[in-house]
Structures are given as C-alpha cells and as structure tokens.
Symmetry: C2
Subunit: 609 residues, 2 copies
Amino acid sequence: MTQPDALRKIAARLRIHSLRMTTRAGSGHPTTCLSMADLAACLFFSEMRYNIGDPEDWGNDEFVLSKGHAAPILWAAYAEAGIIPEEELFDLRKISSRLEGHPTPRMSWVKAATGSLGQGLSVGVGIALGQKLGRSPGRTFVMMGDGECAEGAVWEAAAAAAHLGLPNLVAVVDVNRLGQSDATMLGHDLGTYARRFRAFGWTVHKVNGHDIPAILEVLQKARTSTGPAVILAKTVKGKGVSFLEDLNGWHGKPLKEEELQRALREIGPLPEVDSKKRVRPPKKARRPEGENQFALARTAYADKTATRLAYGIALEKLGRVNDRVVVLDGDVKNSTYAEKFFEAFPARSFQSYIAEQNMVGMGIGLSAKGYIPFIATFAAFLTRAHDQVRMASYSFSNLKLCGSHVGVSIGEDGPSQMGLEDMAIFRPIPGCAVLYPSDAYCAEACVEAAARRPGLCYIRTTRPATPLLYSSSEPFPVGGSKVLRSGDGDAATVVAAGITVFEALKAHDELKKENIGLRVIDAYSVEPLDGETIRRAAAQTGGRVVIAEDHFPAGGLGEAVAACLAGEARIVHLCVRELPRSGKPGELLEACGISASHIVRAVKGLVQR
Amino acid sequence: MTQPDALRKIAARLRIHSLRMTTRAGSGHPTTCLSMADLAACLFFSEMRYNIGDPEDWGNDEFVLSKGHAAPILWAAYAEAGIIPEEELFDLRKISSRLEGHPTPRMSWVKAATGSLGQGLSVGVGIALGQKLGRSPGRTFVMMGDGECAEGAVWEAAAAAAHLGLPNLVAVVDVNRLGQSDATMLGHDLGTYARRFRAFGWTVHKVNGHDIPAILEVLQKARTSTGPAVILAKTVKGKGVSFLEDLNGWHGKPLKEEELQRALREIGPLPEVDSKKRVRPPKKARRPEGENQFALARTAYADKTATRLAYGIALEKLGRVNDRVVVLDGDVKNSTYAEKFFEAFPARSFQSYIAEQNMVGMGIGLSAKGYIPFIATFAAFLTRAHDQVRMASYSFSNLKLCGSHVGVSIGEDGPSQMGLEDMAIFRPIPGCAVLYPSDAYCAEACVEAAARRPGLCYIRTTRPATPLLYSSSEPFPVGGSKVLRSGDGDAATVVAAGITVFEALKAHDELKKENIGLRVIDAYSVEPLDGETIRRAAAQTGGRVVIAEDHFPAGGLGEAVAACLAGEARIVHLCVRELPRSGKPGELLEACGISASHIVRAVKGLVQR
C-alpha cells in the first residue's frame, strides 16, 4: 500500500471515529474534524515523530490543537496511534473520561488546554522555544482554525516566533471558511492570510487540505524552513459527507443517529490499515540536566527597599541555583526589575515586547517542556492576559506571575497603571497562590516559595520603597501570616498586606497613645489565607476586625477575610471549589457541590448545631 | 507667516510646554512628547476640524491618544487651541486636576481613557463607526506609538477597520524606535510596519515625522483614502534636545531643573504665534435624533426558556424603541441570541468576529459618540477583554456586556467554555452593575434595566432552559432581590442566583417534608447586592445562611454576601471604593480611605460600639 493510500484510509477512519464519537456523546463539533482529517492523517502518521510509549520523551515532536473544539479527531488520532484504546473513544465527554469536549492535559499527550481560540500558537512558540533551549531534536506543530486568526494573540505569537527564529515551529491553518455563526471575515481568501503571515516574518505554503500527496510535499518543504513556517490549507468544513460539506449551521452539532448512518454509508466501511505502524519514532534525545535547587542566597538589606526591586534581586539569585528558571518580560523589565535576571542570564531571558497575551501563552508552552517561567509586568496589564492565565490553570501550568505597581500607591501615573483588580483575577483560580509581600525580605521569600510550589502562583509587588520589617532568616510559608503587634488587651485586629501593613503599624502606634491595643496581622499569603490566625485574633479581640487593602472592594483581601470570618457568622458557602470537567449538567452540579442535595445537607448541618 | 513656519513654532511651543510640565510635576514622559510634537502641531492646527467651544459638536473630528503616556503634549495642544488656560498646564498630575498622568475623560475633550497600550485603535474604529452611523462629517485620528503595535489588539482593530470600510479613520504611528526598557522589536523598520498594515487592508503613507511640509502632504493624501489610512512617521525620541535624542533610558523620566534649562536654551525662547487662529472649525452637523425609549414590550413565555434566549428576544424589542442601541457580536450570536437583533437591525449590528478585545474597544468608541452598545459573548471569553473592560470603566463608558454559558451548567463543552470568574471581573469595578437572571422574565427586565442605567452593566446568562418563576409585569430594580419562599419559622436562608435558584427551590421542597423551613432568596442583582433583605433574612432565620452559586469561590456572589453579612460580625472593610485618580501616594491613600487616619477612625468606631 502506498503512503498516500494508507493516509487516505487513516483519514477515513479519523472521520468515521469523529462522527460516531460525537453522535454517541450527543454533542460536539464533527464538521470541523472532517475538514482537518486529511491534515491530521499526514501529521500524525507521516510527518511527526513521537514515542507512543512516552509523552515526555525529550525527542518527541509536539502537537497543539489550537482549534480545541476539534478534540474528537485528536482523540481519534491517538487511538489510531495505539495510545488510546479504540473503545475508549466512546467515553468522549463523559464525566469519568480523560477525553474532554476540549483538550486538557488530563490526557497526558495534551501539553496545554485549548478551547479558548487564538491561544495555541503562543503555546506552540513556547514549546518550540523550550525544545530549542533544551537542544531537543523535536519540532512543534500547531493546528489552527481560520476563524481564530481574527484573534490578536495569533499575531503577537506570529511576530514572536519570527523574532525568536524558530525553524522547528510549523503552523497549519485549516481554512474551512466557516466560523460558528457565519462565514469568517476572509473566507477562502488564502492570499490575504499569506500576505499577513509573510508580513509577520513567516515562510508560507499554500495547499489543498484534502490532497494528501500535496500535503506531504508542503510538510517536506517546511522541514527546511529557516524560520517558522505556516501551511495554509484550503479545506471544506464537513468534508466527506455531502449533506455537511461547506454548509453553515452545522458548527457545534453532532449528527442524529439516522444522519450518522447516512454519512457512514457515504464514507464507506472502516478501512483496514495498521495506523500504528506508520508512526515515526523520535530521534534519541535526553532532557538536559542542570541545577534544580530552590534555596536562593538571601540579601542583607540596609534600608527601605521596594518589594519589586527585591523580586528582581531574588529572581537573579534563583537563576544561579536553578537552570529551569526562565524569565519573560513585556518591555517593563526596568520597572519590575526582571532586568537583573536578563543581565545575568540572557540565554534564559525572553523579551516579549508589549504583548502580554503571547507572553503568558509562551509561558504555558515553556512550562509544558519542564521550565519554570517567571513572568512579570505591571499588575494592571495582567488583565490583558486574563484569558491566558485562566487557560494556564486548566493546563496545570507551573507559571509564576508577578504584577508590580499595584494599587493607588503608584501615585501620579493614574488609574490606567494601577493594579486594582489583580487579586480578583488570581484568587478565583483553584490552587493558585496569591502572595503579597510588604518588605524586601518577604518578597525574596515569596520568590523562593513560588518556585518551590508546583502550579500557578501570583506575587503582587509595590512601586515605592517600603521599610524593612523582617530579617533574611524569617520563614514565610505559603498559607501563613505574621502577627506584628499583639497584646493581651487588644481591642481590635487589623488585617493588612503590602503597603497597608505600614499604615496599620502607624495606626497601632497612634492608638497606643490612647491605651487602645491593636493587633496587627500581615496577611502576606492572601491565598491560601491563614484563616486560623485571623479567626483566633478576631476571637481574642472582641470580634472587631478592620481590613485595609490597596485594591478594589471585590475579590481581594477584604472579601477573603470576610469569607473566612463568615464561619463565625454561621455562613456556609457552596460553590465550585475544584477545576470542573466535562459531564452532564446535573452530574456537574452534584460533583461540584452546588446541587439540591448539597444544599439540603448544608442546611441540616446548620440546624443541627 | 507661512503655514509650515507657524506649525514649526507651534511644535516648539508644544515641546517647551511638555518639558516644563513634566519637570514641574516631577514625573511623566517628556521624550515621547518630543517625538510626536511636529505631528501634533500638524494635526491640531492644520488638519483636524473642531469647535473649540463644544467637545460634543457633531461635526468635530475626534482624536484618540493611544500612546497615553504622551498626555502632557495632549494637554499642551488643548492649551494652544485655547481650550485649557495655559497656566493650568502646571497642574499636571495634581490630585485636584483634570490633567492626569494618562488621559481620562475627566478632561471633556478626551473621549476614552488611554494608558493601557494597544487599545486606542479599537476605540478609534468605534468612534469612526459612530460618525459613519450618525452621518457626521467628522473624521477620527488615532495617534499610536510604535511599541504598542506589538499588541494583538492593534491587529484586531486594523482588520476590523478595513472590513468595515472606514475612510474617515486615520492612524498615525509615531515610530520613535524606543520602548520603555529597550528598543522595539522593529526599530525604524518602516517597511515591515507598512507590509503589515497593507496586509490588513490599509492604505499606507510613510513620512519623516519631523518634516512639517511632508507631514501636511501625507495628511492631505489621507483625506481621499477609500478605506482607513495609516501614516507611518519616522521620528526621533527626545527630538529637539541633543542630550535626549534617540537615547535609551529616558522613557519615563522628567528633566531635572538644570537639564530643563539646558534643553530650553537649545529649543530657544517660546515662539510667538497665535495657535488658536490656526484651528479649523468643523462642518455644520446635527446629531441624529430618533427613538430613545427604554420600555420594551415584554414577551409572554409559555414554557421553560433559557435566559440567554430571553436576552436576545428583549434586545430585539429594545432595538425597536431605541435607535441608540447597537449590538456587537464575536461570532457566537447564535449562542448568545444576539442574532435576533442582527436579523432585525442589520445597520446597527456589527460582527466583530473572534476578536473580543477589539469588540469591547469598539464599544468604548461607539459609547463615546452617544450610542448604547450591547456586547455579548460566552462569559469565559470576556476574560480576553478584561483590560478593555477595565479601561471602559475609566472611560465612563455606557457599555452593556452580556456573558452567556456561565458556569458548570453548560455541561459537556468543558472548563475552557465555562464562565467561572466573570463576576470577579465585573464586581470589582466601582459602579458596575452585575445582574444574573434566573428566568426569562427577569432576563428581559435586566436588559431594560441595563439600558436605562448609565454606565457599565454586566448581565450573566445561562445556557440551559430554566422554568418560569415570574411574570412579565414583575419589577426587577437594580439592587433588588426576590424572596421566593418565606415562613415564620424558617430555620435558614439560602441565597442563590441564576441556575442555583432552582436548586434552592428543590431544597426547600425537600426540607419541607421534614418540617424544616427554608427562606429562599433570588439575588438577581449581585452588584449592588440587596444587603438589607439578606441581612434581615439572616437575622430572622437564626443567622443561618447558605449561598449557592455557579462560579469559583472568590469574587462572586458568595463573597459579596459574606462581605455584606460580615457587618453582623463587626467587620469594617476599608478599601478603594471609588475610581482613583492622579495624585501623590500619601494623598491617594488618604483620599481613598485606606490610610492610617482612616484605620484609627474605624478602630475607634468599633471600640465605641
């Protein structure tokens, strides 16, 4: 059997799987799978090299399905490769299954969650960069939709890929002309896509996305590209099924059973072909070793120091003991003080320019390859990457984000530069730590704690210099707090963090003159909050608590403490406390603890007290 | 005096003002003002037509300073035009002044706050679209920096402007080569900028940004463009002062007094020229009238209806009575049901494709021209536009945002599609209403309430159909709630919203069988919350409260209620409760209520109870 014949058969199998899976699931996006079936067959069973026994093999090529709604065909491809048992495909979208409606790394071959469009290329840039940095022979393939090319993040990523010089990165755009609700802006105008990618520094190849020999030829050409290459594939949405082809209105619709049978008759019986045998193994490669310590040398500070400066100093020291640490900047490194790392470790420092979305997206990719990205910008500008931060959480990324210049304490630059909603971005994310140091020693400890702790972590730093409160040996565990002033007869507790700690200390001194004792707590760990200490303090100080924070009212320290103390006021708060997953609505309401049965249980619990 | 001679003198005056203002303020960005001074002189005193007596004149050309850190030269230009008294320039960045560090509409000629880079072009697209829609002869000029062209939002806007066909839109890029911390990615490579803008459908003009006759010539050419035109101006950062020109390290630095004197000696004395006389008045034009009602005809629903569907139905009915309402979609109009408005009012419907940042940015521009934009997408994807939403608040925009498909109740599509942090985006914004209807009647009322209420408003809608709870005549004031079940001996209160209201009602029925009374509150107005009703219910039900919401733990209904009930637990929450503004750190801590003196007062208040 010739290679194109085999690939045609594999493509037919992928189409059949995708149609059956979505009909069985009762939801999903079959027609977008059909348009990319021939491309997927060529990629997974001819072009890409990977070790089906080990998704972490350092020699593997990597694949990012940026058009995440085509998940069924991704699972189908892994089934054909022998990675997923074929019968498991029918578990698509079940609550117990790793085969979710949009890809997440619950399935171990998925390196980043997708489904929010226009993010995959940034992730691919990060992965390709990680491969380059770690001398992997692997390449990175990103399958994109045409509709998502309207997202600006795509062009941020395109510019970065060309600037970074990544010949190991190949993007494939499945130009099937149709979006969700209507035709895309550019339809089948491949010329305009080509001009755009060329203007952003890419080598462009155009191809009929259903002509397998032609696809193989452009993939071959892309191997010798001197920079990133994009394959613009003209395709037909619903390809292979006459009553689906090129028609609007079929975007998120599975076929009914009768329609499925009609479609399957058109495609013909499941062709016989041993797809597994067509998978090319990777070149041998070993993940680079190197320093992987976290205990960074602490600084002895002489005087007032901005926490943002201490962040930069600590980051540079962390870089000395940990080779996995990489740093990304959005052209504010002289303000966040990431410049200290840039100067010391230029090979592990990446200038992302003023493009925060791509900066975080690249971080997701670097994290997927085992690096520990530290990413800093003004806290206000992390709002720009909120969607990428959100998707980083579903990607289980090991990202460390730092927002500097928080709150009104930045002064004259005005509201557009003040991070006043940043804690409300990070606090809702399950498992994300939110650290808010008040002095330079605490800031250094937060950098170390963030690096040690797997997963997302956010550090909030302040612009002005602040006095020294602690010493270089003071421990600052995640989830802790510091009681800075305490007396037997304290009349109230103040909970503060960052800049307001100093305001609280001043208040303490003022009140002391009038013989009013004030307990002062530095809640440097806003999430998780040291509820035990705060509740004890509240109880010991007559239930009188003041919170002071440099942040908008909602979503920050104030509500964190209010929620923590509401226990005293007998509040039960039911809500989604873990990352949710695919499942039926009723099942999810139940699993996430917000269904009628949970409410019944909570009420009974209260009544029985 | 020839026109170029006069403009050269005006440019010198703008440079001198910018240098003096920033030195006096002790902070700011003078060198980025110097690079655009010649361009600004040509725009404000030769090309643009505006009525210096009325910033709302419907014939005015509009100006957006996308590179908002160049605010000093904007204020200087308005002073030269006679709009701001010259002596007021020295109030720059004072807490009492409308002349902030980055432009905000506190100064009435500013139509949108800028300072988060890469947003101005979208705003300009929206303004130009508003001019076109309202048959204004005015044109829109957007002054951009080169560094901010790295932002993807710029390319979303560029694509939209070309697609919408806006010959009344002119962008000027001040290509001064230097960003904040380093050179930009493209430096002075105007050719690449040109290729990019051309690939996105723009007419491109290149010019030496310090050659006034050449600038006038390209501005003249741009008048006859058939679509949007961009002027790529090669400039020198710090132009006019030898020790600042083209040097890194001067980005956010004012000159010291001695340096200022040296700079002023180089530029020469303030040239004499009557700038005011050079301002061209606008063509006569009248703002279009039309229906401006809010009372939309209500629907009689027969059965279970999704709130997202009711949103779409109500929007179409609102469109019938209000011509100022315009609707934007991000290619999900068949899911949000904005398609109903699109079908009925195509001229007031704008397809933004999958580009949420530009969608919200355009909304800011349309709002600035007096329209009432309703913008809907999946709630999850509003995270993509968080920065634009934030800037909309500082722009005092009259935007109505709707996030559909919230929470785990969407089911199988999985976490990337679930809006679980959307309330935490909107609740922190001072003055922003957050409405969360549980049934179709409430959803219709929320659409009307959002339209009536000036300012930002967020409506959260649910994917599955939900039962009818209310009637078409039920009032739903912003800030209200509905007590759905209430009895004398109620043992507890449950506060719910949206989908969980129905879970709460089921719980009520279950508990009733065991003679346990449950008070059920539908908190459809999450922000502002009906604290009075909730506190009363808590007090009447033994202080036992359950909250159930389909949202992550932080920043949503749970913490809103916790914060509201914490009053019972004697909590005082100090935080920034109003939009802050430029000022010194100490002043701002004081003005925003989070300084030592406020803490002292709060503690005393508690102690004296």
